[in-house]
């Protein structure tokens, strides 16, 4: 068993990478969002101010009277994160201070409730990085469907039954909507690729103006998988084409993470309880739904050109490779 010769708290102080969130937070086991938020702060560094929409992240990092944050942080309402962040940014500007403002919200706070405030923030050209942690439902309140919930997923408000196979509607294409604001930089990322997240955050930090990053973050509780599988499932979402990892500059597609070995959508769906109704019996409805989901993935691969031609070293496989002594992390 491992033993250390110095107190563990001292060792924690000596870690070679800055982290803006410390342990003790109350996230569930294997939480994708807790990981994603920590990775964001690793790349942003301590000189930031955060406006955090209502949601899991806000709840589990600040169990009153404690806080897991090491950076200035403010809780905003569900609907006004973009507005609060805009206000902080304007106040800092008035004081001649240069700390970067980061707004954070879940998919509910971003796609649905806080959307108009976000749109306004982008339109007014504030110097803010908006991060959306996308776990595809209102998880904090007990798994209700959101505009981000994928088609056919089961939530408490989209139960499968005789009439429907889970969510009837499609996942909102938020990145295209954001990109239509012609902001300098908008991107998607996945917790399965930490270096990619950190690179994108660093890039956004250096841009003067509104930027947006959507991070796909599995929720073991809401998706119905073991916490130990969060990364494996996040990776499958990318490798199937269901969650394209892309970058847009001024609304135009600038870069994608190509998929080396495209996986069938069933590999991703089977691993999650929220899609279990698609595997109970193979009737016509099920076949159609599975074909539909496969078509959605194929469509993403086609429109974004996700099929790897093996020229990009950082495709879905290359970006995951490990090397001795960690000589590969960005």
């Amino acid at each position: 068993m491992t033993e250390v010769s110095i107190p563990i708290e001292q060792l924690r102080q000596q870690q070679p990478r800055y982290q803006g969130i410390s342990p003790g937070h109350r996230a569930c086991l294997g939480c994708g969002q807790a990981l994603a938020a920590r990775l964001v702060t690793e790349a942003s560094g301590p000189d930031i101010m955060i406006a955090n929409a209502t949601g899991c992240l806000e709840i589990f990092t600040t169990p009153w009277p404690e806080s897991a944050w090491k950076v200035p942080w403010m809780h905003s309402l569900f609907e006004n994160t973009g507005a609060i962040a805009s206000g902080i940014e304007a106040a800092l500007k008035a004081q001649g201070k240069s700390s970067k403002v980061i707004a954070m919200g879940g998919d509910g706070g971003t796609f649905d409730i806080g959307f108009q405030a976000l749109s306004g923030m982008l339109e007014r050209d504030h110097n803010i990085l908006y991060i959306c942690y996308d776990n595809e439902a209102y998880m904090n309140t007990g798994v209700q469907r959101s505009g981000s919930t994928p088609h056919a997923a089961m939530t408490n408000t989209s139960p499968p039954g005789k009439a429907r196979m889970g969510k009837r509607h499609l996942k909102k294409d938020i990145i295209s909507i954001i990109a239509s604001h012609h902001i300098p930089y908008a991107a998607t990322a996945s917790v399965a690729y930490p270096s990619d997240i950190r690179k994108k955050v660093r890039r956004a930090m250096h841009i003067e103006g509104p930027t947006f990053l959507q991070i796909h973050a599995p929720c073991p509780l809401g998706w119905g998988h073991d916490g130990s599988q969060s990364i494996a499932i996040a990776r499958l979402a990318v490798e199937t084409g269901l969650f394209p990892v892309i970058e847009l500059e001024r609304g135009a597609l600038a870069n994608v993470m190509p998929i080396r070995n495209i996986q069938p959508v069933t590999a991703y769906l089977k691993a999650q309880q929220r899609f279990r109704h698609l595997f109970k019996k193979a009737d016509q409805r099920v076949k159609e739904e599975l074909a539909h989901l496969q078509a959605l993935a194929d469509h993403n691969i086609e429109v974004y050109g996700l099929q790897s031609d093996h020229t990009d070293k950082l495709d879905t496989r290359g970006a995951a490779l490990v090397h001795r002594r960690g000589k590969h992390w960005a």
Binding site: M1, V4, I6, L11, P23, G24, E66, S67, V322, R324
Partner: protein, 563 residues
């Protein structure tokens, strides 16, 4: 802790007061498993361990780790049949690592740079040890005992040290300068080599005993197994091993045009290949055993690579064939009658070689040379219980006499390989040391081998095994018959190939666990961890989600139920 107004604010970084470790029902911990290359190695090497140093650029440290077990890497890197590579988990992913080539490269680097063996112990002991036989087993035992502080004398009936490596391994497989350099480096540790001293002729075991606290016997097998076909023994029958030795010593052989070698082991293959080099027009190799390409169980014992090279050189293989009759003109062999044979498994597990009537064929040859193995010469071993088929010993090389140990080809449990002999010497040296110091023998436990399923292969790039050039058949047989057939890796190739190691069962410090832990409950600590890992778990905060276990590429983390 200041008194806070409800809902107003919280002090930064205070959630740490709450220890989320109390949620945990399963706990991750680091578990070192043996890589399959380690457990498969007959010499006892942990290839994964020295490959780790190698791929980090610590070439000399890699060599030192290697020679702390096997002092003859330049030899074994060339002649071993490398079961490590057969076992390599990478073989189930793309292609097994070329471990033997990297071992050979390290051996060559050490000679080129004149590296000295690392000092393994400062202790000096008064006891003297006698080693009889300066083959790979004897040299290995001498090295390990000397390194543990004993005075060591080696006796051998040959004028030079090396045993079979010196007199029976063709130089095209093992160049003599490579062999000589490693032997000399061992003897230069201060080992007294007493040449041309034969057990039974110049001294007896009883005479040695008062002077020496322990004796390690590694005399090999001196007598050829008797060979006959239905009671008929050809006139002027020559033994395969003797012909091999003669060619190696003299560089030529007086042989007819067409010969048949009987046997399917390495000696038979070596002999067939030197017969081609010595000018034989037709060389046939007849064996009961099956070709390695077949799916039969009873396969030839020779190294597959050597079999392929023999075929390239024109040796004609007749596998699964038995000799039924010798065709004689007077007393002169003019051919053999062969039948097809197969090893059949009986329901009770017994196996039997069956020959099939009606499959007889005649092969015209001028000489038949058996190379079917050797037997133990029992002279001078009267006081030890043994038979001609080999001396029974324990895994530590213990015989029925407490001060006598044995290893190498002479033992019943011998694998008949060079690396097996090197390993025997190593294990016996450890046993002698513990016996003399009256300490308990280490239990021969092996750590559990890690399987490919325990690795996360997603994190490794698929890349083909690197191959080296071999001489063309013309260069091998026409020009210099002693020229080494296989070339070794250059610096770049060796480094590239070493990075293909999957680091099975051992931390490679890739940072995956540290990066992926959602609770920051893994801390990076290179200097402070005591278990070869580069990370520690902070169990105050670890919730036991198991993400680190799933995403560890090397299978170095396992989950255990909380008590």
């Amino acid at each position: 802790m200041p008194i806070l107004t409800r809902g107003a604010f919280a002090q930064a970084d205070t959630a740490k007061m709450y220890k989320t470790g109390s949620w945990r029902i399963q706990k991750p911990y680091h578990q070192h498993f043996s890589a399959p290359c380690h457990n498969a190695c007959l010499a006892g090497e942990d290839a994964q361990a020295w490959l780790a140093y190698f791929s980090e650029g610590h070439i000399q440290k890699a060599w030192e780790t290697l020679v702390s077990v096997n002092p003859l890497p330049g030899v074994s890197g060339r002649v071993c049949h490398h079961p490590c590579e057969t076992a390599c988990n990478r073989g189930q992913y793309d292609e097994a690592l070329a471990i033997h080539h990297i071992e050979r490269y390290l051996g060559e680097q050490a000679i080129q740079h004149g590296w000295n063996y690392p000092l393994l112990s400062q202790t000096r002991h008064v006891e003297k040890i006698a080693i009889i036989g300066a083959g790979p087993a004897g040299l290995s035992a001498a090295y390990h005992l000397k390194q543990r502080g004993y005075k060591v004398d080696i006796f051998d009936n040959l004028p030079v040290a090396g045993g079979l490596l010196q007199i029976a391994l063709p130089p095209y497989r093992l160049p003599r300068n490579a062999l000589q350099a490693e032997i000399e480096r061992i003897l230069a540790l201060g080992i007294d080599f007493q040449a041309q001293k034969q057990l039974g002729r110049d001294f007896s075991l009883e005479e040695l005993h008062p002077q020496y606290a322990a004796i390690f016997l590694a005399i090999g097998r001196q007598n050829s197994r008797e060979w006959q076909v239905d009671g008929v023994i050809p006139h002027h029958l020559q033994n395969g091993l003797d012909m091999l030795k003669e060619w190696i010593a003299l560089g030529k052989l007086d042989i007819p045009d067409r010969l048949a070698v009987i046997g399917g082991g390495n000696t038979a293959i070596d002999l067939a290949r030197i017969l081609r080099r010595a000018g034989a027009k037709e060389v046939h190799l007849i064996t009961h055993q099956a070709h390695p390409d077949s799916s039969e169980n009873d396969m030839m014992n020779a190294i597959p690579r050597e079999i392929i090279q023999a075929e390239e050189e024109g040796v004609q293989l007749h596998t699964q064939r038995g000799i039924q009759r010798l065709l004689l003109r007077g007393e002169q062999v003019i051919g053999v009658e062969m039948t097809r044979m197969q090893t059949m498994q009986h329901a009770d597990g017994r196996s039997e070689r069956v020959s099939f009537r009606g499959t007889e064929t005649v092969l015209h040859v001028d000489q038949v040379v058996p190379a079917i193995g050797q037997q133990l010469d029992l002279k001078a071993l009267e006081h030890l219980s043994t038979t001609v088929e080999g001396m029974p010993v324990t895994v530590h090389g213990q015989t029925d006499q407490p001060h006598i140990f044995a290893g190498g080809d002479m033992c019943l449990r011998s694998s008949g390989t060079v690396s097996g002999a090197i390993g025997d010497g190593y294990r016996a040296a450890i046993a002698i040391h513990h016996t003399l110091q009256n300490t308990p023998l280490p239990h021969p436990t092996q750590t559990t081998t890690i399987t490919v399923e325990q690795l996360n292969l997603h994190y490794y790039e698929s890349s083909p095994r690197l191959h080296t050039a071999t001489l063309t058949v013309e260069e091998r047989c026409k020009n210099d018959a002693s020229a080494e057939v296989e070339t070794g890796f250059n610096d770049e190739q060796a480094k590239k190939e070493a990075t293909r190691c999957l680091s099975c069962g051992n931390c490679m410090a890739c940072d995956n666990c540290w990066t992926f832990c959602p609770d920051s409950a893994i801390l990076k600590t290179q200097e402070n961890a005591s278990n070869s890992s580069h990370y520690v778990f902070d169990y105050d905060y670890c919730k036991g989600c198991g993400l680190c276990k799933t995403e560890c590429p090397c299978g170095f983390i396992i989950m255990q139920d909380e008590a």
